[in-house]
């Protein structure tokens, strides 16, 4: 029979482990961004599985280190050497970006946590002669990324549906990615053209990772005829 002392010992072992409370203190301020880095990595994997090597670039030079924005920002920002990835599939150039703001069809700007956009449009927005936020028409795929230790907040889903609604009709793939889940949000995302609920998207659920990666591969292949 397990005693309260057995339980206390097990709790102490968990909390005092190097990946215990000290890990929480370390990552707590970047938990959302670390999740975005993970989703960005899954996009790199999708490109690689299409037989293409993704190339890491920086806004002001070679991305050593590769820096993720800490807050929504402009694609042409040179405040820091923000990283992005570029790749070419069947003659068409694309970029994977994180934390970049786009101009919605209404004119309002929106941040996409992770996205795939048209390469020429991204280059045009970084051109010193024509610095600008990318138009929604340049967006191919966009994902909202939420790390949650509890149940997802319903409001996030509603806000993302509103954002996607303002991104025009060129957007081919959208989704809400989270390590967590929400049964009502899953139903809310069911109608056509609503974001795909990539819930429980975590390395602990490899089948969910495969669904995410295969969606990207399928859409890029369809778009480029690859």
């Amino acid at each position: 029979m397990a005693t309260l002392q057995d339980l206390e010992n097990a709790i102490d072992a968990l909390l005092n482990h190097p990946l215990g409370v000290s890990q929480y203190q370390l990552v707590q301020r970047v938990e959302e961004k670390a999740y975005e880095a993970y989703v960005f990595g899954l996009c790199l994997r999708a490109v690689r599985e299409l037989g293409v090597t993704p190339i890491l670039r920086g806004n002001t030079g070679i991305p050593t280190p590769f820096v993720f924005r800490g807050a929504p920002g402009q694609i042409h920002s040179r405040g820091r050497n923000y990283g992005y990835a570029e790749f070419t599939l069947n003659g068409q150039d694309f970029e994977i970006q994180a934390g970049v703001e786009f101009k919605g069809t209404s004119g309002m700007t929106h941040e996409l946590d992770v996205c795939i956009m048209r390469g020429p449009d991204a280059r045009a927005c970084r051109n010193p002669q024509s610095l600008d936020d990318p138009a929604s028409a340049s967006l191919i795929c966009g994902w909202e990324c939420k790390f949650y230790a509890g149940n997802l907040d319903k409001g996030l889903g509603r806000a993302f549906v509103g954002l996607i609604d303002d991104m025009g009709s060129n957007l081919r793939l959208s989704g809400m990615c989270s390590n967590s889940s929400h049964p009502q949000l899953r139903k809310y995302f069911q109608p056509d053209r609503r974001p795909y609920p990539h819930f429980r998207l975590t390395p602990l659920e490899t089948s969910n990772e495969d669904i995410f990666v295969n969606q990207i591969k399928g859409e890029l292949k369809k778009m480029t005829g690859a």
Partner: protein
């Protein structure tokens, strides 16, 4: 025959007390996940026998057993999933290449239709990933500019995964 000499409530109280003693903010966020409760479907018998019973949604609080599992899920998110996110990102970035501009094509213009010519380097090598802490628009700047995402050993992550499994087993009150 009971498997444990303690109740689910005692186990939950102990866990939250221990957590609060180490980090009050963390304990509060775990408590909030528990206090969010859950939705259940309730059935109200129809007054007319010919009609179907009415089913409606009701938000109720978790039982102590369920609350323990919610707490362990929250701990797992930080102690197991967060390190895995970083390791997984590091794996995928290492398989990408760095692009070094060649400047071989002098006629290449930024913003044009052509991609800047680059040579590929460091494919298959570890890349340093950082998250900006001081954002561009931030006025007050104190502490580190960026946060370096560091890999954790697979063994450490597995130890924590196993430890959470042990705790779930120690707080399994089914069949009592």
């Amino acid at each position: 025959m009971s498997r444990n000499s303690y109740t689910a409530q005692q186990a939950l109280d102990l866990l939250l007390t221990k957590l609060r003693a180490q980090n009050d903010l963390f304990a509060t966020s775990v408590q909030a996940a528990i206090d969010a409760g859950k939705d259940v479907s309730e059935e109200e018998p129809a007054t007319d026998r010919r009609k179907k019973p009415r089913v409606y949604r009701r938000t109720v609080r978790f039982t102590h057993e369920e609350a323990l599992q919610v707490a362990f899920d929250a701990l797992q998110a930080y102690f197991v999933e967060q390190p895995l996110f970083i390791n997984d990102a590091a794996d995928n970035f290492s398989k990408a290449a760095l692009g070094r501009p060649t400047h071989a094509q002098a006629e290449w213009m930024p913003g044009g239709d052509e991609r800047e010519p680059v040579v590929l380097e460091q494919q298959g090598q570890e890349k340093q990933l950082e998250i900006e802490l001081h954002t561009e628009t931030q006025v007050t700047r104190e502490g580190d500019e960026t946060f370096v995402l560091k890999r954790q050993s697979k063994q450490s992550i597995e130890e924590q995964r196993q430890q959470i499994q042990t705790l779930r087993a120690l707080t399994d009150f089914s069949g009592e």
